[in-house]
Symmetry: C2
Subunit: 206 residues, 2 copies
DNA sequence: CTGTGTGAAGGCTTTCACAGCC
DNA sequence: GGCTGTGAAAGCCTTCACACAG
């Protein structure tokens, strides 16, 4: 299990495979071929096989993969990746939607705290949790040892908030703001820019 | 302007550059070096220069790029990409948040219609537009010649809805559902899987 | 004969190194 | 001197071809 050399893109696809495998497992399907799995994941069979061999070999030649053991193996690779507590900063439209989004809870991520410069404005949104003011941010993060943050503030505030997050000890940020964040090397950022996704798509329209 | 050979990733970054350039332009900044622009975009200077030369050369050696002409040039490359009417299918939590999301409107994308299997359930969300039932989908798309769709339905319905969209003539889909969509070659899909983004981030946490 | 595992080949991007122009 | 433009090199990832196991 040479975790240190797994390419970023492979790690990403492992999450994809894992979800498909979980479904197969729930449906009591016991074996699956790389061809079938690859089709479901939208990749080529060889790619899938190569991805899987990055952390061991557990297929049976002539037969395929045993779903049960694949679930276990993938879970152990992604283990650390799940059940992380998360905070969310910026309770606007997008922020409050994400707080309610079942997709996170379903996959084991719990948003344990939300922050906003104007904590009272989100009152109407009948959230399940209190919205805290920004000056409670640092304290909350270090006390609860939070490592993951979702950033849904306007672009103008994004860098300032990021600095505060990093200072408080956040190690990874899922950034929905339309800004590129400057962070130290030990902090990871994934950007989700919805407008760019749309723009990019429409570039390929005839 | 050899548009046909611009790599996918370059097109994506062009959108990024464009946003930064627009801001510089608003702030009356007239020239910018590849180093400065690259830093703001989070890429290496050489990468930026290479990206820009894919569709012409308009920097001045020893000086940098003229912001004004860069805005014009980039706008013309991305022109087709903007001001596309968009529909949204699946008015749950995420869907209704995206309908309200100012980020789209601000960048020139208008959601002109929304659809749901139970159009009445979104009543409370005080949306600016009517939510139409699914059986109006095909008609709406072809009448208005819509090419872009945002898909925010549960994974279980995603493929069925996709088939309907494709049949009606949709050419590009921004897919928020946790399923990989099977589509014909002439249809483009960009996937945004929020749970996987989080999982992926937390993989890199120490 | 079926389907995995994998070294080698191929393709796509990024980065380098430096020529060229202001 | 400063900064862009670009062929060549490097790096990374994907795909191929086929050996190998059940």
């Amino acid at each position: 299990m040479a975790k240190f050399v797994i390419p970023r893109k492979t790690v990403y696809r492992l999450s994809l495979y894992f979800r498909i495998i979980e479904r197969l497992h729930q449906n009591r399907i016991e074996t699956v071929s790389s061809a079938a799995l690859a089709k479901a994941a939208g990749v080529k069979p060889t790619q899938l096989r190569k991805d899987l061999t990055y952390f061991g070999q557990f297929g049976t030649r002539g037969l395929g993969y045993k779903v049960g053991s694949l679930v276990t193996q993938l879970a152990s690779v992604l283990r650390t990746a799940r059940f992380q507590p998360v905070i969310l900063v910026g309770v606007g439209n997008l922020g409050s939607a994400l707080i309610h989004y079942e997709g996170f809870a379903k996959e084991g991520f719990e948003i344990v705290g939300a922050f906003d410069i104007r904590p009272e404005r989100a009152k109407g949104a009948n959230l399940r949790m209190p919205i805290l003011p920004m000056d409670r941010l640092g304290e909350f993060i270090s006390e609860r040892n939070i490592k993951l943050a979702i950033l849904t503030v306007p672009g103008t505030n994004a860098q300032a908030v990021t600095n505060a997050l990093v200072d408080a000890g956040i190690q990874a940020i899922l950034n929905f703001s339309p800004s590129i964040l400057q962070v130290p090397n030990n902090v990871v950022v994934n950007n989700v820019n919805l407008a760019i996704e749309l723009e990019n798509l429409s570039y390929f329209i005839t």
